[in-house]
Amino acid sequence: MAITTPDILSVPQPAPQKTAATKREYPGALVVVEGIDGSGKSTQLYLLKRWLEISGYRIHFTEWNSSPLVKSATRRGKQRRLLTPTTFSMLHAADFADRCERQILPLLHGGYLVLADRYIYTAFARDAARGCSPHWLRNLYSFAPVPDITFYFRAPLEVAVNRIVAGRLKLKYYEAGMDLGISLDRAESFRIFQERILSNYDQMVETDHFVLMDGTVRVNKLQKLMRQLLGERIDLKQFAPKKK
């Protein structure tokens, strides 16, 4: 049902939501990287960020699950293993909402290039792997601005899992999907959980217009490609430092 405006309301009623196809209502642009742990996405976004900030571009970098307002609740919930699939999902949505309302949207309106390490697709892939309904998740995050480009880093499951397991003393409880009771062995549980997430990601490639990136390609070669694709999709000049 559409929002009906009772006559006594003087609060401004929001405009109808734009779809991905319509022109954006802000001058900024949103760049997203997605992929399972160990797919190389964070390394690549870091290099992209360094390239842009060294050149003095107007950029902002934001990470999944990092809002200071919601952090203490999430940390306690995870440490004491209080989270269920639903509350896990709701808390991450609250975290995202805080970053969205206080950082991402104001910066997009202020003409920034916003770089996001993980975005709503992480919730779609991961929370659905925990049993949340995809339809419910899509609604939950329907307030999020649609990215201008979403790089999806894909590496074979074993490659990605080995990268994480090799460099980590211990996998965390929720990270390994231990709450799902798949396996008592953390590494095994992690592998099966990541496999489910990978399959959920793959299903979004077409529906959400992911740009597929091969996570097994050499780092500098892949970065070169990423910069090229970004330049083709987004007019980077508008974020460049103003000449005096």
């Binding site: 006594i8 919601v70 949505a93």
Partner: protein, 271 residues
């Protein structure tokens, strides 16, 4: 921020009429609005969930204290719930409200987290044990508060479609002016959030309170139709409102509506 909208129409039919969805899922799911929240057992919910809704100053908490005593004296075990009482995030919300950094969507989703945590850890286990759960507010207050701040109603219903449908939902309806008198008498001032001061409606606290509570009331009028609330005149005397509540609850539980007079401990509420 753009108003969030549901991607498609959420399946939230009015009270008492199970959705097609619920029927398909068998009896176990019949008491949820749509697909139940993941990972919960939905069978064996033999208890009753009774919700009392109403704005601040509508007399909700008073009635819940009295109903608890009455039900216990009749031999029914009672569990209560209310907003911000979850172990998971109850105190975090208190902290968010104390500073003014929090924005409307974050607050709405934190309240949602608080609600679902209580639903999974408090309400469902109690209902499985055959208890009567008295809810001092439920999803409807959360929907109304967020909706008056411009968050889409269908978006909000979409979030709560995985929630449990109450057996009875009472709405204690009072005029904002009456609510103001009662609230002021209680605390000698009006709180920031009760008067909707985050919405910049008026610099005058009274005006702000009246306008905000009028908006909430309108949302409740809409919700009442959509979900089949039992609307009661919250301006009646405590004993009169309580009598009507007991009659409806007794009928739901299949017991005779018995005479009730509050104990000494609660006698001060009986006006």
């Amino acid at each position: 921020m753009k108003p969030p909208r549901a991607q498609s129409k959420p399946d939230v039919p009015p009270n008492g009429r199970p959705s097609k969805h619920a029927k398909k899922n068998g009896n176990g799911a019949a008491r949820f609005y749509g697909i139940p929240m993941p990972g919960v057992r939905t069978e064996d919910l033999s208890g009753s969930l009774i919700v009392v809704e109403g704005t601040d100053g509508s007399g909700r908490s008073t009635q819940i204290s009295l109903l608890t005593e009455w039900l216990e004296s009749e031999g029914f075990a009672v569990q209560t719930m209310g907003l911000r009482r979850s172990f998971l995030v109850g105190e975090d919300i208190d902290a968010l409200l104390a500073e003014n950094a929090v924005t409307r969507m974050t607050l709405a989703l934190m309240y949602g987290t608080d609600f679902f945590d209580q639903l999974e850890r408090r309400i469902l286990p109690a209902l499985r044990s055959g208890l009567i759960v008295l809810a001092d507010r439920y999803i409807f207050t959360l929907i109304a508060r967020a909706a008056v701040r411009g968050i889409g109603r269908d978006y909000l219903h979409g979030i709560y479609e995985i929630a449990l449908r109450p057996n009875l939902t009472f709405w204690l309806n009072v005029r904002p002016e009456v609510a103001f008198d009662r609230e002021f008498k209680k605390s000698q001032t009006i709180s920031y959030w009760e008067s909707g001061r985050d919405m910049s409606l008026s610099n005058d606290l009274f005006q702000s309170f009246i306008r905000y509570q009028s908006m909430i009331k309108r949302e409740f009028e809409y919700l009442s139709k959509r979900h089949g609330f039992i609307e009661l005149d919250g301006e009646g005397s405590v004993s009169e409102v309580n009598r009507v509540l007991r009659r409806r609850i007794a009928s739901h539980l299949g017991i005779r509506s018995t005479h009730y007079k509050p104990s000494h401990a609660l006698a001060h509420l009986w006006r």
